[in-house]
Symmetry: C2
Subunit: 208 residues, 2 copies
């Protein structure tokens, strides 16, 4: 696949350009993709619709992303609607509560929940999108890694901690939130967040 | 029972009939519904298609289930493809490992995984199906309640245990399995099952 555009022509008298890794208006394109997914579902999402919404030519989109699955994969990682800040609360429990709280917001806040639920549901229907979604989860996990590093630096976790611990914890925390809101359709409140993190760190058998 | 709409006629010489709560061939109908969902997705699932596959008249189906969402809701609870036996291993850890192992099988075994992934993905796309899916999860949880009751009887859990503990544990266990296989597309092996149950009961901070 040759996704790279043509390099800028030499000798144009312009300052050397950075290597181009996204088209102009890429943020508008990603955000429009996620908005359209929320409004129309994966079935109703089209590259043409994104082009119209973002005010760009559809051939521009096809040059960068050969299909709507590829476009949505990039939008999941880069769209502003699904981003969240990395917490630094001073404790592992606090950081995990903040991250789970962000996941809860994504799954319940009006602006984001339609996108998150539609995107994650669509993953199960499109093998192509699923492949791109893996990048989203890997990217998210890499951004969260400092949470574990800082817990080790503070002595909350052993330096010999399995590097896969963060994924293990996030699977249980985010998985519980997802299952509860998408499948059981039960509310996600502060008590859910605190209890789930407490169980993940200390176990359900601990006496409160 | 007073709720009987038409009590069996006296003196017919036949044994009294049970109250009819499902049409003839209902098991074939439920199984055909889940097979069709796996093969065609929720979009491609039709009451007509189920009727043809199960060898029944479509008017029979519409009489019992007014829409494909209602039919799929009933099939999720009653279809043989998604059923699993209640474990009784003699310990809470063992029972939870067995239940999570069954969830893992549903999400990964060739016969069931296409159905489970398609059904759970479809829930996010259809509010009507979502309402029926709640019954599936409530039904599943009620069937699993003896796991908690037996743990209390064995003294593994306090008699004062929060009755919602089972849902809390299953959210984390099944949620982790679901997120890992559907979204991260990583394998679910015996190590995943043992580690996830161990963390849910004893916490990630415990030194192994």
């Amino acid at each position: 696949m040759n996704a790279e555009p043509h390099p800028p022509a030499a000798g144009t008298g312009l300052a050397p350009k950075k290597r181009i890794s996204a088209p102009r208006k890429s943020q508008e394109i990603f955000d429009a993709t996620l908005d359209l997914l929320r409004d129309k579902g994966y079935e109703g999402l089209t590259v043409e619709g994104v082009a119209e919404r973002a005010g760009v030519n559809k051939t521009t989109l096809y040059r960068w992303w050969p299909s709507k699955g590829a476009l949505l994969g990039a939008a999941l990682v880069n769209g502003t609607q699904l981003g969240f800040p990395l917490p630094d609360t001073g404790s592992l429990q606090g950081d995990l509560e903040a991250v789970l709280g962000s996941v809860v917001s994504l799954l319940t806040a009006p602006a984001a929940s339609g996108i998150a639920i539609a995107a994650l549901g669509a993953i199960t229907q499109s093998p192509e999108l699923a492949a791109h979604a893996r990048s989203f989860f890997a990217d998210r996990l890499a951004k969260e890694q400092p949470i574990l590093d800082r817990a080790i630096a503070r002595g909350e976790l052993s330096p010999a901690t399995d590097p896969a611990l963060l994924m293990h914890l996030m699977d249980m925390l985010a998985g519980a939130a997802w299952l509860r809101v998408a499948f059981r359709q039960l509310p996600l409140d502060k008590e859910f967040v605190a209890r789930t993190v407490r169980t993940a760190l200390h176990g359900a058998l601990v006496r409160p």
